[in-house]
């Protein structure tokens, strides 16, 4: 882009030049990449993951504000500089990721909305900044993030480390909140698409049509902003914005007769061109389980093949490069087709090493128990996991009932950080470091008591229940394949999200199901009645004691009955002697 100089006007009020003077100025480098990974899943569903990454070498934190935005969306840039945000991670998810059937996702996300933010060290009032930030993001994404307040915000002490450049981590600048009840729909997708440089007009984003995307088993859209190093010595840093969209299409609801997936059937669109602003635009199809094309065939065929180590496994991908015109062929459109050859003969899926479930036990509306079950499926290695639980204040946890058992024996956590809740102010926060023995099931149980809330604190559908956000389990899982720790090497986007510090393990975050818990409810139609009845009882007490305190005993002179009174009155008029 070019910088327009102001017109020079001399003393006579005449313009110095007739035309605008255009001078090129050096712009900070920015780069946009887009990619789509399609992975056929073991259960017959298909997993599509879009990633859009913008890298921009600029400094949001300097004095004069950044005013020229090119690829980086202006709304997010202004949010970063106004609230001094170091890292921002927001996700909107509909559905629950079934780890046992689908394997590990590239980017995990919990059902509902999740927001976690690292603020810069220069922020003085983190809570005020958090509150304003949630409201601004609520406007940007058309979501009800304004329901995030102190009753569902926590400050995890160990589970959420910065994913970008790490200087020192003071957890006072971290805030984490989830809204498990949040629903994702077209209204959230549209502003998300608007943040892309090409919008939804060119490139991979043309496939993002909401009528097909929301007709799926799992849908998740996320935005991640973080500072990253450009080179190994980290002399220059740039801001990375990643927008990812994960969707799992269900085999059966798509009404497929035979098992066949194509871009048109999944997204009701085909691709005609790459985004002109993108430096790279690729589609990766996971063909690891199909080396000799015995299970399915891809058309149109592509000669490009690439290998990447992702989630501890070396996978092979067929690559379609959309920046090459030859990909689109003579029809100028790309409709990838994956046709299965036979219905039987399923390949075995790599079993996920870490997997978790959570449920509520107990009966009645007074007490209950939360059980979190973690599975370590590695045959001989044990590894530690960090479990983060944020429970709302109206489920009163009793931490003395916390038990952690593995294989039937007690397994004491080596680190417990517990912050008890304060009624109507903050939730419970429980973080534990648990060592999972190899090939075992670990169960964490804690008892709670359900509170009776004020009648105005219930949602309009109180008998639906109250949601408890997912537990977060973070772990470094041993990898069977050496992971690549070189950050500057060219890697597909999907394999380079979580920073990899060592070769023998990779970072995994697992979210459990959210819980739905019923609370006892008062009768909502009765406020006036209750006030009257209770005040009546208090008045009965007051009245009895008042009578006894202020009156004294006297002999009663009987009052004549009414009939006698009237008779006497008439007799008096007549002048006749009165009745006694």
């Amino acid at each position: 882009t070019f910088y327009i100089e102001p017109l020079k006007i001399n003393k006579l009020g005449v313009r110095a030049s007739d035309t605008f003077v255009l001078t090129p100025t050096p712009q900070p480098k920015d780069d946009f990449q887009e990619e789509l990974v399609i992975r056929p899943l073991h259960s017959g569903d298909i997993y599509a993951s879009f990633q859009f990454r913008t890298l921009w070498e600029t400094d949001f934190m300097r004095e004069n504000k950044v005013s020229h935005y090119r690829l980086f969306p202006k709304s997010l840039g202004q949010v970063i500089s106004k609230f001094s945000v170091r890292e921002l991670h927001i996700s909107f998810t509909q559905g629950y990721w079934r780890t046992m059937q689908w394997g590990q996702p590239f980017l995990p996300s919990p059902p509902g909305a999740e927001l976690w933010v690292w603020f810069q060290d220069s922020v003085t009032d983190v809570d005020a900044a958090w509150k304003e930030l949630t409201n601004v993001l609520s406007g940007i994404f058309c979501a009800s993030l304004n329901f995030i307040d102190s009753t569902n915000t926590v400050q995890p002490s160990a589970s959420f480390k910065p994913l970008g450049i790490v200087n020192e981590t003071d957890h006072r600048f971290l805030r984490y909140a989830t809204l498990p009840r949040e629903i994702v729909c077209t209204e959230n997708l549209t502003p998300w698409k608007k943040l892309l440089p090409c919008g939804s007009k060119a490139g991979l984003a043309v496939l993002l049509k909401s009528e097909k995307l929301f007709h799926s088993s799992f849908f998740s859209q996320t935005v991640h902003i973080r500072p990253v190093c450009q080179d190994r010595e980290c002399k220059t840093t740039s801001w990375e914005l990643r927008q990812t969209l994960n969707v799992v299409f269900d085999l059966h609801t798509s009404g497929q007769g035979k098992r066949e997936w194509s871009l048109f059937k999944m997204f009701s669109r085909t691709l005609t061109e790459a985004c002109p602003l993108a430096s790279s635009s690729k589609i990766y199809i996971d063909v690891t389980d199909n080396p000799q094309e015995e299970y399915f065939e891809l058309s149109p065929a592509t000669p490009l093949l690439s290998q990447a180590v992702v989630l501890g496994d070396r996978r092979t991908f067929s690559v379609y490069d959309l920046t090459q015109q030859v990909t689109f062929g003579t029809v100028r459109s790309l409709n990838l087709l994956i046709r299965w050859k036979s219905t039987e003969g399923e390949c075995s899926m790599l079993r996920p090493l870490l997997h978790a479930e959570r449920y509520v036990a107990g009966y009645g509306l007074q007490t209950g128990e939360i059980h979190t079950v973690m599975y370590n499926n590695h045959p001989f290695r044990s590894f530690p996991v960090l479990l983060l639980d944020s429970v709302p204040w109206y489920l009163r946890l009793y931490i003395h009932t916390l038990t952690v058992t593995s294989k039937g024996k007690d397994n004491t956590p080596s680190y417990i950080h517990y912050q008890p809740s304060k009624d109507r102010m903050r939730p419970h926060l429980l973080e534990m470091l648990v060592q999972l023995p190899p090939h075992s099931v670990t169960e964490v149980t804690v008892q709670f008591e359900r509170a009776l809330l004020k009648w105005t604190e219930y949602t309009p559908d109180p008998n639906h229940g109250f949601y408890v956000g997912s537990s977060v389990i973070s772990a470094l899982v041993p990898s069977s394949v050496a992971m690549d720790t070189n950050i500057t090497q060219e890697q597909p986007l999907f394999s380079s999200f979580f920073p990899c510090k060592e070769e023998s393990s990779y970072f995994v975050r697992v979210y459990t199901e959210p819980l739905l818990v019923n609370l006892p409810t008062p009768d909502f139609s009765m406020p006036y009645n209750v006030i009257c009845l209770t005040c009546t009882v208090v008045a009965v007490g007051y009245g009895s004691l008042y009578n006894l305190l202020t009156r004294s005993f006297q002999i009663e002179e009987p009052n004549p009955r009414l009939a006698k009174k009237i008779a006497n009155f008439i007799r008096r008029i007549r002048g006749v002697p009165l009745l006694s």
Binding site: Y363, G364, L365, Q366, T367, W393, R396, Y398, I399, H400, I416, Y418, Q419, P420, S421, K422, D423, R424, A451, L452, L453, K454, W455, T456, P520, T521, P522, D523, M526, P527, V530, I531, L533, T534, V537, V538, V540, G541, Y542, S544, L545, N547, L548, L549, R551, S552, F553, Q554, I555, E556, E557
Partner: protein, 436 residues
């Protein structure tokens, strides 16, 4: 009298020990009628566990006991059952000795009365009890306390209400014995644990002044001098306790957690009182107003009752205990057991009680219906909160009627002592007495 009392103590301890060993102990410890957020044993254990984890028990909203309770149970947590049984035994013995001492004084007063019998109408001599009738009253009081199902339930649930009752019983004992300093100290301990026994200052001061023959006349200097002395002892020990609690944990966090909790009622867990559903259904705008009204309601009967009953401070003490138990923010059946234990002292009033049958039937029915309707609301889901609330209302109305009935009977007996028992109207027929 020692032998029957010992037998009673043995029976009481046996019943409690048997219930501790049975499976009913956990069930009873969860009952909302028996434990409240202030007195529950589960919360004491939770507070001690938080302390072990390095977190202040008052940083959350689960633990609302005073720091001295933490200190006490830090050492006694393994002997909790013995502690609570001992607390019950101490209460019973204290009440026994207190009533015995009080009866001695009543007899002395009656002897004075008999000497002046010719000044009083003849027929009221039958209102006066003989020492032989009063012989078994202390034992009955101890029995009413120890064998009351409410007390047994409260002890088996390890509710700290038992400790509160023990302190109040010791206060009653030391007051009736005439020891002003100990009375102030025990009253301060009771107030420190739950604010409401503050109102018992008035009967204590009236009783001690009566015992020391100081005339209760606000124009006299000796009256004010005694009030100042007593309040000095009381406030001094309260100050010492508050400072001791500060040094235990090193912070003032416990003040809003304990006293702020009792006064502002944030926790709406159902109990047998009137506060929970009222504030669950209260319009937000009026919450503070009604909170103040309900809290003042507990304290404001003190002055009128003291003026009316200034010659009968022990009955005043009973009335105050009853008012506290009914109108406090988190009542439990343990509080009720304490004032019911004192009913045998006024057993001579039974001829003037008007609706004792109705009241006892209602109390019995409500005690049975509480767990039934709780189960229907919380577990079966076929009833809703209104059912439990209705029984709460009825229970409290019955208690109010009981207390006001005894008050009526007491005042009526005093009236008859002055004006004669069999009153006649002007025309000689039998008169009826009404309050006008």
């Amino acid at each position: 009298m020692a032998a029957p009392l010992t037998l009673l103590l043995v029976v009481a301890v046996t019943i409690r020990a048997a219930l501790y060993r049975s499976s009913l102990a956990e069930v009873i410890a969860e009952r909302v009628e028996v434990v409240s957020p202030i007195t529950a044993w589960k919360r004491v254990i939770e507070g001690l566990a938080l302390l072990d984890l390095g977190v202040s028990p008052y940083s959350g909203d689960v633990f609302h006991e005073t720091p001295l309770v933490i200190y006490l149970f830090h050492f006694l947590v393994d002997y909790a059952e013995i502690t609570f049984m001992l607390a019950d035994v101490i209460s019973a013995i204290a009440l026994y000795l207190a009533v015995k001492e009080y009866n001695k004084q009543v007899v002395r007063k009656k002897q004075k009365f008999a000497l002046e019998a010719d000044r009083y109408p003849q027929d009221c001599l039958e209102l006066i009890r003989s020492p032989k009738e009063m012989l078994y009253i202390p034992l009955k009081v101890a029995m009413f306390y120890l064998l009351n199902p409410f007390t047994i339930l409260s002890c088996v649930a390890k509710s700290t209400c038992g400790l509160n009752n023990a302190v109040i019983s010791l206060f009653i004992l030391t007051t009736i014995k005439g020891n002003a300093l100990l009375s102030a100290v025990f009253l301060c301990l009771a107030t420190y644990q739950s604010i409401y026994p503050l109102t018992l200052c008035a009967p204590a001061m009236l009783y001690l002044m009566q015992r020391q023959y100081i005339p209760v006349n606000y124009r006299r200097a000796s009256f004010w001098w005694f009030v100042v002395q007593y309040l000095f002892m009381y406030l001094g020990s309260l100050f010492v306790l508050i400072c001791l609690s500060f040094f235990l944990l090193g912070s003032w966090d416990y003040l809003p957690s304990v006293y702020g909790f009792i006064l502002s009622v944030p926790d709406l867990t159902p109990n047998i009182g009137l506060f929970w559903y009222f504030f669950a259904e209260m319009f937000e705008h009026f919450r503070l107003f009604f909170l103040c009204v309900f809290q003042i309601n507990v304290f404001f009967y003190t002055v009128p009752l003291s003026i009316k009953l200034k010659d009968h401070p022990v009955f005043l003490m009973f009335m105050q205990l009853a008012v506290i138990s009914i109108f406090k923010s988190y009542p439990t059946v343990g509080d009720i057991a304490l004032y019911m234990a004192l009913l045998p002292v006024w057993s001579h009033l039974h001829r003037f009680l008007r609706n004792i049958f109705l009241v006892s039937c209602v109390l019995l029915a409500c005690s049975v219906l509480f767990p039934v309707l709780w189960h229907l609301w919380i577990y079966a889901g076929s009833a809703n909160s209104n059912f439990y609330y209705a029984i709460t209302l009825l229970f409290n109305v019955a208690q109010i009627l009981l207390v006001s009935d005894y008050f009526y009977a007491f005042l009526r007996r005093e009236h008859h002592l002055i004006h004669g028992l069999y009153l006649k109207k002007k025309d000689g027929s039998e008169a009826t007495l009404v309050l006008k």
